[in-house]
């Protein structure tokens, strides 16, 4: 075991950690925003919308994230250069980079898995509370905003820590499409120093620390949010 390289690569690893955290927070943020309507229409939406949402969840949960990522990056990414409208638009510098594709893939993945969870959460809100809200003359939208959504979110809070950890553990896949997150930096170190195990162990250590931070943070957060009776 030789660790002489660590000091030299610390700044790169810090950049990698920042990229990993950006990937994680962006995809969970947008994924949760998508997950709410996906869960909601499965409980109360018209039948065709519910069917679309359900098939979306099935497809996302039924195929490997790696394939989804490659499909978006190599598949869609190979179509865009063929379209001159996109090539000459202001979007091109963004679409040429791998990072947005990674965020998109992870966002859809979070939306698929968490949409299923949100469906259960919306269903789990006691009927009496919704009926009480209706008896008060609240409009459907107001019921959703004041009662249904907050109660459902309260129900999913304990699962959020798990979702963060799962997504964190899938972020290294982004390195296969040239995003230099923690794992990607580890690969660079392996190539430049010809050390096989030490960089991998170092990377594993970083992920364990990040996982621990997420778990502790959510434990703290859960204690601050009033528990549903």
């Amino acid at each position: 075991m030789q660790w002489y390289w660590v000091a030299e690569y610390v700044p790169k690893f810090i950049d990698g950690i920042i990229i990993t955290l950006q990937l994680l927070s962006l995809s969970i943020f947008f994924g949760m925003i998508l997950a709410v309507p996906i869960g909601l229409v499965q409980v109360t939406g018209p039948r065709w919308l519910a069917a679309i949402a359900r098939s979306f969840c099935t497809v996302i949960r039924g195929t490997p994230l790696l394939i989804q990522l490659w499909l978006l990056y190599y598949g869609l990414g190979s179509l865009f250069p063929l379209m001159p409208e996109i090539r000459e638009s202001f979007l091109w510098p963004i679409l040429r980079d791998a990072f947005p594709y990674a965020v998109l893939a992870f966002t859809l993945s979070v939306a698929g898995y968490e949409g299923e969870v949100m469906r259960g959460a919306f269903k789990g809100v006691p009927k009496g509370e919704l009926e009480a809200a209706r008896a008060f003359g609240m409009s459907r939208f107001k019921i959703l905003r004041r009662i249904w959504l907050p109660r459902a979110l309260q129900n999913v809070l304990p699962t959020l820590a798990g979702e963060f950890v799962l997504t964190l553990k899938s972020t290294p896949l982004a390195a296969t499409i040239t995003v230099f997150d923690v794992y990607g930096v580890g690969s660079i170190v392996r190539q430049e120093t010809y050390r096989v195990y030490e960089p991998l162990l170092f990377v594993a250590g970083i992920y364990i620390c990040l996982t621990a931070v997420i778990v502790v943070f959510f434990r703290w957060l859960e204690n601050r949010v009033p528990r549903p009776a």
């Binding site: 099935t58 949960r61 195929t63 490997p64 794992y183 580890g186 195990y197």
Partner: protein, 240 residues
């Protein structure tokens, strides 16, 4: 979009088509998934027994194993176990005076994914075993059954209904995790697809085709596990 369908002949099974390659990739994916799942179940069963009945050091070791495996990304674990594992085995063989062996990708892949699965399976099976009413075990002991017989006749059948939902999830996870072996160069479905896509330049079509194949595995497995779950619950009250 138009060239998506113009290149459809690349998927055919005739000359110049990649159909057979994809199916061969699918076959090795299923092989690894089945092998790793079986190994994972084996580790999980004994891991759960060790966690529930083992001595304090055993319990500590198992706790470290399941915690570490579940906190590190699968991709990192696969690389670590794949390289370190094969190197360690050859190192051991050499120090014992044997010649180093070439470990096949299939065996290494099964071992690596099996060890990862084992950590999750340990937790699932441990939880299910805790849900078996203690009275049933005590009744079996009162009948004078040996520990092994109790395990085989009472604990395992009685815990199955509790364990199956988690175990079916693990099977779906392992079929999808096989795709990660593409990164260490094992030619299963994902890597074959990538090669096919790269050499024909129709990325979108090939990745869609692979996604369909994976989806088929998932949908068929779902039906199978639904049947198994129903069967394991015979004679029990319906779940709400």
């Amino acid at each position: 979009m138009s060239d998506l369908f113009a290149n459809l002949h690349y998927l055919s099974f005739s000359d110049g088509g990649w159909g057979w390659n994809l199916l061969r990739g699918l076959a090795s994916t299923l092989q690894i998934a089945l092998g790793a799942y079986a190994l994972g179940m084996f580790i999980g069963l004994f891991g759960a027994l060790g966690k529930l009945n083992g001595s304090t050091p055993t319990r500590w070791l198992l706790e470290i194993y399941t915690t570490l495996i579940r906190a590190v990304p699968e991709l990192v674990l696969i690389l670590l176990l794949y390289y370190a594992g094969t190197a360690a085995i050859n190192h051991m063989l050499e120090s014992m005076g044997f010649r180093p062996i070439d470990i096949s990708g299939l065996v290494a892949g099964i071992a690596v994914l099996g060890i990862v699965q084992g950590a999750y399976a340990t937790e699932v099976i441990r939880g299910a075993m805790l849900a078996v009413p203690l009275g049933q075990i005590e009744a079996a002991q009162a009948f004078g059954m040996s520990r092994w017989k109790i395990l085989r006749r009472i604990t395992i059948p009685a815990m199955l209904p509790f364990a199956l939902p988690g175990l079916s999830n693990l099977w779906l996870i392992v079929t999808k995790d096989t795709a990660l072996l593409a990164v260490v160069g094992f030619s299963e479905l994902a890597l074959v697809t990538r090669q096919a896509a790269g050499s024909t330049r129709s990325y979108l079509m090939f990745f869609l085709a692979a996604a369909c194949l994976y989806l088929c595995i998932t949908l068929i497995s779902n039906q199978l596990f639904r049947y198994l779950e129903k069967r394991s619950r015979r004679g029990q009250p319906e779940l709400v």
